[in-house]
């Protein structure tokens, strides 16, 4: 009997260890295969030029239009998310600090919002676009992606603001500051690491999301110079080029995938480093 217990102990520990370590394996495998395939095809020309004539039949050029388009959309969307998400997160933690129930309900709703798939945002963005009489454009893409990332931004920032000790609020109020001053001069500074993480997280989501820009941002070979022009995006460039039967074009899709993966890795690693650095200066 005792032996059986010992065996089951070892077996289950091994199984759970195996499951956990297989995650590292999966990550390395995904990144590895995309880098191997992508770097074989990647050249400087691809990331420095827009598509030339015959590009989609294997001709000259690169996908700079998609890289720039993605960056524009992610930047614009993150900016809107900051403008809406920051005050919302601060409001939950300053004005509602004494109403635990309301706070929890809001957090619960925000978490539920996080689960809405991006294709639904895309479809809604499309309806909104038709309603406002716009065409598929950079602006429509930015608005749609902003809707998608704002709940993420708010909830991430809020998660850090939550941990700030209540004594700091009280000290600030006792010195006679208004709620706004407490929010921006005390909480915002204390939660700055969370703010940076939230920005980078929404930026990463904005660059990588395909389903929401599919309807709204359109696709073009040019780099957009105005908000009402359509914009290409990196995920869609990968998606469309993979659909091509021509091997050279498919190779380019792998190269674009490698570029996108590098961008995402840079963003998530930077987020980690920055949030750690700012954590040191915080009053605990």
């Amino acid at each position: 009997m005792n032996k059986r217990k010992q065996i089951s102990e070892i077996v289950f520990k091994l199984i759970s260890g195996f499951c956990a370590y297989s995650l590292i394996g999966i990550l390395l495998f995904i990144i590895g295969i995309i880098f191997v395939k992508g770097f074989n095809a990647l050249s400087f020309e691809m990331i420095s030029q827009t598509p030339k004539g015959g590009y989609y039949f294997g001709g000259e050029g690169g996908f700079l239009n998609a890289i720039v388009g993605s960056l524009y959309i992610a930047l614009g969307a993150t900016f809107i998310a900051i403008m809406i998400g920051t005050p919302a997160a601060l409001f939950i933690n300053v004005h509602l600090v004494r109403y635990k129930r309301t706070q929890n309900t809001i957090r619960y709703l925000l978490d539920s919002l996080w689960g809405i798939p991006s294709i639904v945002y895309g479809a809604f963005g499309f309806t909104l676009m038709l309603l406002m009489g716009m065409n598929a454009s950079l602006l429509a893409g930015i608005i749609t992606v902003a809707l998608l990332v704002t709940p993420i931004m708010t909830r991430t920032f809020d998660e850090v603001l939550q941990t700030i000790p209540k004594g700091l609020h009280e000290a600030s109020f006792a010195l006679g500051s208004t709620k706004t001053e407490t929010a921006f001069k005390i909480l915002f500074k204390q939660g700055f690491s969370g703010f940076v993480t939230a920005i980078l997280l929404s930026f990463g989501r904005g660059i990588g999301d395909a389903a929401s820009v599919l309807f709204t941002a359109g696709y073009t070979d040019l780099i957009p110079t105005n908000l009402d022009e359509p914009a290409a995006t990196l995920p869609l460039a990968i998606f469309f080029q993979l659909g091509s039967p021509i091997p050279e074009v498919r190779e380019r899709a792998f190269a674009a995938a490698a570029v996108l993966t590098i961008l995402i890795l840079i963003i998530s690693i930077t987020a980690r480093i920055i949030s750690k650095r700012y954590l040191k200066t915080i009053i605990k």
């Binding site: 395939k37 005050p87 798939p117 990968i238």
Partner: protein, 295 residues
């Protein structure tokens, strides 16, 4: 000076309340917007018959969503069966067995996996999963397939939903007080017995919620699935055949939807269906998690 400060405070309050209200009203606004767009279709056919009918001939005005719903359910089920056990065991390892140092190595990895864009998972599916199925897995079962099939969609989805479910599950297991596990250990139970009978048993509502949220996430995933699932409009029980999930329907047909009458309505109805199902699942299971955390 004091007036200026008060004025700033007042304006800022308006900005804050307006922002928060916008975010919280978002699902309602999206729901209403999509509903208004799908009214032309709903006036013509009831929601119940749309969902259960399986005739999809947009040019003749026949919109039956069942093949798509079936495709989505099938892919989601495969993904759930593959990812759920891995998630439970990995979460047990990370919360019960692993040392703090190992956990600190693991968390960034889970985060990076969760942050990879879905199109990257799609590329991975095309490069690895699809050839694997057509060359190695299908011959074992004696079927021939191109590899672009429901099973491929399920496998890719399962990899995608692991980090999402795992994150929630780790949170759930961490809320179990360490004292009750120690009590079980001190009574002579082995470590695994304590985990099984105390930690897991106590977290059952949380684990079920994590499963539910993972399913909801998989149900709405678009691009990655669409790239590998074949997009074949035919109900088939064979996982080696292609399928056509609901999100793929929306994403694939946006180009032609304005040229056929009621087609755009039909696609918006599909989006509304996704929104309602996923939001409901999220609201129910998040509530369960929220309840367990308060205890």
């Amino acid at each position: 000076m004091i007036f200026r400060r008060i004025a700033v405070d007042k304006t800022n309050n308006v900005w804050m309340v307006a922002s928060l209200a916008t975010i919280l009203a978002l699902p309602l606004i999206i729901g209403i917007g999509l509903y208004i767009k799908s009214i032309p279709l709903l006036e013509y056919q009831s929601a119940g018959s749309l969902v259960t009918s399986s005739e999809w001939l947009p040019s003749q005005g026949k919109f039956g969503f069942w093949p798509f719903i079936y495709g989505s359910l099938y892919v989601t089920m495969i993904s759930f069966l593959l990812s759920a056990p891995v998630c439970v065991f990995a979460a047990i390892y990370l919360t019960q067995y692993a040392s703090k140092r190992i956990v600190n190595i693991f968390m960034p990895i889970v985060d990076i996996l969760a942050g990879l864009p879905s199109v990257i998972y799609g590329v991975f599916g095309i490069l690895v999963v699809v050839p694997f199925i057509s060359k190695y897995l299908a011959p074992i079962f004696d079927v021939s397939t191109s590899g672009y099939c429901i099973l491929a969609g399920g496998i890719v989805l399962s990899i995608m939903s692991i980090p999402y479910m795992l994150n929630i599950m780790i949170e759930v297991f961490n809320t179990v007080p360490i004292g009750i596990k120690e009590a079980s250990l001190s009574l002579g139970a082995t470590s695994w017995e304590s985990i099984k009978h105390v930690v897991v048993k106590r977290s059952i509502p949380g684990v079920i919620s994590a499963f539910g949220l993972g399913i909801a996430k998989a149900f709405g995933e678009t691009i990655a699935v669409m790239m590998v699932v074949g997009n074949v409009l035919k109900i088939s029980h064979n996982p080696f055949k292609g399928g056509y999930p609901l999100p793929a329907l929306i994403a694939n047909n946006y180009g032609e939807m304005l040229s056929i009458p009621k087609y755009d309505s039909a696609l918006m109805f599909a989006a509304l269906l996704l929104l309602v199902v996923i939001l409901l699942i999220n609201i129910v299971f998040r509530y369960l998690i929220y309840k367990t955390q308060i205890k």
